[in-house]
């Protein structure tokens, strides 16, 4: 499951990433964090969180 978290380094964003990294049902086959990648759309800082 690949999830793009926009603002993944903000207060809420960090907590969301931490929550999504837990091995919940839909992510149970996933590994841990693979990478963060910054891109930019309309002034919003985007952080890419992927689970492979």
């Amino acid at each position: 499951m690949k999830i793009l978290v926009v603002g993944g380094t903000g207060t809420i964003g960090q907590a969301v990433v931490n929550e999504l990294k837990k091995d919940t049902k839909s992510l149970q086959q996933a590994q841990k964090v693979v990478m963060f990648k910054s891109i930019l759309i309309n002034d919003l800082p985007l952080k890419l969180y992927t689970n492979k």
Partner: protein
């Protein structure tokens, strides 16, 4: 953004200021950033995400429980929630979309306490659970209010 299963947006700026002093340009801060930033994420992302992928956007409490100097935030939050409800009807390929509307986050209180006098804050970890519910659940077109 190809091959993504979920897009979560947790950011967006608005302008806080007195209505009697607010300019159109200042009002556009929230419109262009928090509103259109997230709307554009969906408009663009819908063409690249996997079938059954989800969008989770962020609104906030201020359209339901307004504060002084919060007119810009109130308008933007309300617009985001309206967009989510309407977009859920039209997103292709069984894609889903929800919004998270948290009250003031406990971890942000030191900076924002003066604006939110009398509000009960919610720990950010509790807010994060709503995002998990949106991403890993099955609902669409919903606004999850957290802490109020």
């Amino acid at each position: 953004m190809s091959h993504l299963d979920a897009v979560v947006s947790t950011v967006g700026s608005v302008h806080f200021g007195l209505l009697t002093e607010m300019t159109e340009e200042q009002f556009y801060v929230g419109i262009k950033n928090k509103l259109m930033g997230q709307v554009n994420l969906v408009l663009i992302g819908q063409h690249y995400l996997n079938p059954k992928a989800s969008f989770t956007l962020t609104s906030g409490i201020l359209n339901q429980d307004p504060i002084l100097q919060g007119a810009n935030a109130a308008v933007v939050n309300g617009a985001i929630e309206g967009f989510v409800k309407a977009a859920a009807l039209e997103l292709p390929n069984s894609m889903r979309i929800n919004a998270i509307s948290p009250t003031i986050v406990t971890e942000s209180m030191p900076k924002l306490e003066a604006f939110f006098r009398g509000f009960v804050s919610v720990p950010v970890a509790e807010v994060a659970l709503a995002y998990s519910k949106s991403v890993e659940g099955a609902q669409t077109g919903q606004v999850y209010r957290v802490g109020y």
